[in-house]
Amino acid sequence: MANDLLKRFSFEITSNDFITAGKSSSYIKSNLKSLGIDSKVIRKIAIVFYEAEINLVIHSLGGKIYCDLYEDKIIIISKDIGPGIDNVELAMTEGYSTATDKVRELGFGAGMGLPNMKKYSDIFKIISDKNGTLIELTIFI
């Protein structure tokens, strides 16, 4: 059945942890490659997953990312424990960033996070309040 969850990869992301930032994306990428998933799909997933991961490291108090495999799609769910996004619409604008200067010096947080996620996913959903942000990204295979 197309709607059955075939496999879930889950990752715990710690706030401000730049030492392991990017590790989960590499892991998910090599796993999907070894499954033989089309490279164009993998590239989209690599981009949105990386953005999600870095977003949690920079902007959140920590959270989880799930990558769920279905027969015809991959859904990435990013769930953090706050502080939430004040103005989702503004955050969706290209170039807008709340990243601190220090983070920007590291070459992260150019403010392309959310718009990029939207651009490279087929379905993009976001809910945010002060208790946290939930993003769900669907990419069809």
Binding site: S26, K29, S39, I42, R43, I47, E71, I141
Partner: protein
């Protein structure tokens, strides 16, 4: 002839050095001897470098026997060649030494490199929606992208290599100058690069066959070295200073007068930067120059001099060369560019059959179960480069669990 690297089974001791260095895991050791999976090989030459017993060597082409077939024999020395001689060696002397090997005419690769650099700049300026562009002149990284990063195909700048362009222009020039037919003209490229050798014998896309023969530099170096003697009144066709920069990594970007570029050399670094591009991280960069060899083509396996010394030699040449380059083809640049002369048509990356995720997951699960039994030391003694690749080989029926030395010792 379709493989640029010859393997001498007698010399191979099965030491696993080459297997561990191969970036695409194309090598296995079976019954104490290395075996290359040619489908996975990207011709980077890492195995030649890694082997202490000289088991790998460039395909031996008896090009000398072939020279009689042509009325006009053109040599195209790679941009790296001048840095292979002691510092201070005159460019003219090197060119004349090449002629003395039996050639009628030298067409310097740097002239073509200068043209390709102009094409790079133009293409980047004209296509602002593609970022970053990736170079296509290193056949080893090109094949790596083909095999491991096919999604980056759309980022490739898709321009012919200086070797390719030099071959076409040299032939055209000779045809006009000496009033000859194509078949009477032999074009010989002198190269530091096993991947270039293969780019000629087994080209990708619309490349080739502008060069007829490829000569590994180290095959002729001894002879050439003896002929490098100072004489009076030597005729010289000066290389293009801009084009000569191509021999060292970062040089093509400088030759193209780019300011927003990243230049990366050495296989491991190249792999890391390609991963970053795949993650969408370098979309603010115009051009990423990726070269398989350390320091770029000065580090090619058929070179004789240490890459760092060669690259310093090259800088020295750029600073001291005097003499006007004769690059008459430069005038035709716009016309050639607009005609699509530089365009490199890429074969479509084969579309993968729609995979069955369920089955793929099951397969991965089984491989994982095999992997769990293996000790995880990645020692390579089993003949596969890592425990994971051994597990995959077992799954594919190409090896057995009993090949694992550690398991055998423990049981």
């Amino acid at each position: 002839m379709n493989f640029s690297i010859m393997f001498d089974k007698e010399k191979c001791r099965g030491c696993t050095n080459c297997m561990k260095k191969c970036p695409t895991q194309a090598i296995r050791i079976k019954n104490g001897k290395a075996i290359i999976d040619h489908k996975k090989c990207i011709h980077c030459g890492e195995c030649i470098r890694a082997c202490s017993y000289g088991a790998y060597s460039p395909e031996c082409i008896e090009w000398k026997n072939e020279t009689n077939a042509y009325k006009c024999k053109i040599a195209i020395p790679s941009t790296t060649i001048y840095g292979q001689f002691p510092r201070g060696t005159d460019i003219c002397v090197v060119q004349n030494a090449i002629l003395k090997l039996g050639f009628d005419y030298v067409y310097d690769e740097s002239w073509a490199a200068e043209l390709v650099a102009k094409a790079i700049k133009k293409k980047i300026d004209n296509n602002k929606d593609i970022r970053p562009f990736i170079n296509t002149n290193c056949p080893a990284t090109l094949r790596l992208i083909n095999i491991r990063y096919p999604s980056l195909t759309e980022n490739l700048i898709a321009l012919k290599t200086p070797m390719e362009i030099a071959g076409i222009l040299a032939r055209n020039n000779a045809r006009k100058k000496f009033n000859l037919e194509d078949k009477d003209i032999g074009v010989f490229y002198i190269t530091p690069c096993p991947a270039k050798l293969l780019a000629v014998t087994d080209p990708i896309g619309n490349l080739g066959p502008s060069v007829d023969w490829v000569i590994p530099l180290n095959k002729i170096y001894g002879e050439l070295y003896q002929k490098v003697v100072k004489e009076d009144n030597l005729i010289c066709s000066y290389p293009s200073l801009s084009g000569l920069k191509w021999s060292v990594c970062g040089g093509q970007s400088k030759s193209a007068k780019l300011t927003n570029f990243i230049a990366v050399n050495g296989m491991e670094n190249v792999i890391q930067i390609l991963e970053e591009i795949e993650n969408g991280k370098l979309s603010g960069v115009d051009y990423v120059e990726v070269l398989a060899c350390v320091q770029g083509c000065v580090g090619g396996t058929f070179n004789v001099i240490n890459p760092f010394i060669a690259s310093s030699n090259n800088k020295y040449i750029l600073n001291t060369l005097d003499g006007e380059p004769i690059n008459s083809d430069l005038e035709c640049f716009e016309k050639l560019y607009n005609k699509g002369f530089f365009e490199f048509e890429f074969p479509d990356t084969e579309s993968v059959n729609k995979i069955n995720i369920k089955e793929a997951l099951k397969k991965n699960e089984e491989i994982k179960q095999i992997l769990a039994i293996l000790p995880g030391l990645d020692c390579g003694s089993c003949g596969s480069p890592t425990c994971l690749s051994h597990a995959e080989d077992i799954y594919n029926g190409q090896s057995t669990i009993f090949e694992c030395v550690v398991l055998r010792a423990n049981s």
